[in-house]
Amino acid sequence: MDDVAQAHTNRRVTPLTDPPPSAPEAAGRRRYLPLAYRVASYNAVVLVATVIVTILVLAPHKLSSFETDEAITLGLALILIIALNLVMLRRAVAPLQKLTALARRVDLSSRPGERMPDAAPTSEAGELAQTFNEMLSRLEAERSEATGRVLAGQEAERLRIAQELHDQIGQELTAVLLGLARLRNAADADTAEDVGAVQEAVRASLEDVRRIALELRPEALDDLGLHSALAVLCERFAQRSGLTVEQRIAEPLPPLDPESELVVYRVAQEALTNVARHAGTDHALLALQARAPDGPLVLTIADEGRGIDGDGEPGTGMRGMRERATLIGAQLTIGPNPSGRGAVVELALPDTER
């Protein structure tokens, strides 16, 4: 899928600032001694020095008259203590490594809500984890707010362009068409034929303008409601890409707020576009139904085509769907069709008091 390929490209491009070197195994980063080993080695030096000083002070003559077994016992004891020290240090430092791993893998857009466990202010590491979690929450909130603003701006702009196309250019072309009709009636046969050709051209432009306006902004959504808008959408796919969409839409559809309706519509539009472009099938299913009586609605778009290639990493289209879903607190899942062939996109709307 294009989306998947795109995701990989994006991934390479996105980290503008590389994370600071913190693990020795990471390729391309400077190797360093991990903190636990470094502190343990300092401790070892201090310990050995302490033992030597103690012997020097308490029994200076002993230094020159060590028995072999005494030296071995002392050496083993020192090694044991140093090893124990290292184990304890590694345990103390483990949360830092977990934090580093989380910080490296965290993805606010496709896997929000991932947090450090054991984040409590009972140790420095715990406090750091708590602060880190708080920072993630703040970033997620800011990001979702920013996404919301961008999407709202995008929709407003689309609406404006669609309206302008429809109200201005569309209407003017209709007026031109009417004027041409009048000219044709008044003209002689030859001219009438020419005018007829111009009429056809204007008519084609008018159809184009209407199609573009419809794609930009589902006019039907405002006028006819979500049910009809989805029906019109499916019909358009049938006309333009030969994709037959089987519709299973709950009747009557429980009332949704306009924002949710738009998200459902756009996700359906994007998912069907993906099916038409990539799935290599001419049949898809669109369902908008509740799983349980009075339960929240679930939008399902399923096909039995080629399925999702690779690891299903989100591309721009899928990312857009996910961002829209997050905006209304809905859950988007994209996975293989349980039937064994093709893919399923599912948008579970949040359970609201109805």
Binding site: H166, D167, G170, Q171, E172, T174, A175, V176, L177, L178, G179, L180, A181, R182, R184, N185, A186, Q199, R203, L206, E207, R210, L214, E219, A220, D222, D223, L224, G225, H227, S228, A231, V232, Q247, I249, E251, P252
Partner: protein
């Protein structure tokens, strides 16, 4: 109230009474569209047809209805999307006049649900704004003769409609599709004229989401 937006005289060759005919049997038309260029274009187109008599053009549904109450109108071309109340409101109102004109809904997008709603609004036809002028004129002639037909609602949409309407409303819809008169529908279903009227508005609201579908 006059929202007639055609400024200046427009050529109306058909206004001159045709010689040799005592009775003016031309089709008297009005146009309702909130876009000035389309109002003008339509007026000129219809005025140029010898068998049409272009009466007036209006920007709002209310103005057209007010005019039609006192004038004899044979055909009305009504834009679906008007600034205030919709073309469906206008159609339903015009059709409830003692001598109702034929009503053609003139819409940029002809959706099946709009077709269904047009049936309830008692319109005689639905014409796309991309239709050629000659087609529009022919449709007006058909409608004025009482021969216009609304586009068929495909089975899938018809099925979805049945879910939206309750049994009584389905019966009303069926009779309206068959062009049964309101009085006859009311008599058949044992409704008063007011009840049928109220039902119609409810049906319009169920079929199409426009706040302009209030009575």
């Amino acid at each position: 109230m006059s929202t007639t937006a055609i400024t200046g005289p427009i050529a109306r060759p058909s206004d001159e009474h045709r010689p040799g005919s005592d009775v003016d049997d031309r089709i008297r038309c009005i146009v309702v569209d909130d876009h000035p260029a389309i109002r003008l274009g339509l007026s000129e187109l219809l005025a140029a047809e010898p068998d049409f008599r272009m009466l007036d053009a209006f920007a709002t549904a209310e103005a057209a209805y007010a005019y039609a109450q006192d004038a004899e109108v044979d055909a009305a071309v009504v834009d679906y999307q008007l600034g205030g109340r919709s073309g469906l409101w206008c159609s339903r109102r015009l059709k409830s006049l003692p001598r109702p004109p034929a009503v053609l809904i003139y819409s940029a997008f002809s959706d099946h649900l709009l077709a269904a709603a047009s049936v309830v609004a008692r319109a005689d036809g639905l014409v796309s704004k991309a239709a050629l002028g000659s087609e529009l004129c022919d449709r007006i002639r058909d409608a004025a003769r009482g021969q216009a037909v609304l586009p068929l609602v495909p089975p899938a949409v018809a099925d979805s409609l049945r879910h939206r309407l309750d049994p009584t409303e389905q019966a009303i819809y069926g009779m309206m599709s068959a062009r049964t008169a309101d009085a006859e529908i009311a008599a058949t279903l044992g409704l008063t004229a007011e009840e049928l009227e109220a039902r119609s508005w409810t049906m319009l609201r169920k079929l199409i989401r426009i706040d302009a579908s209030r009575p």
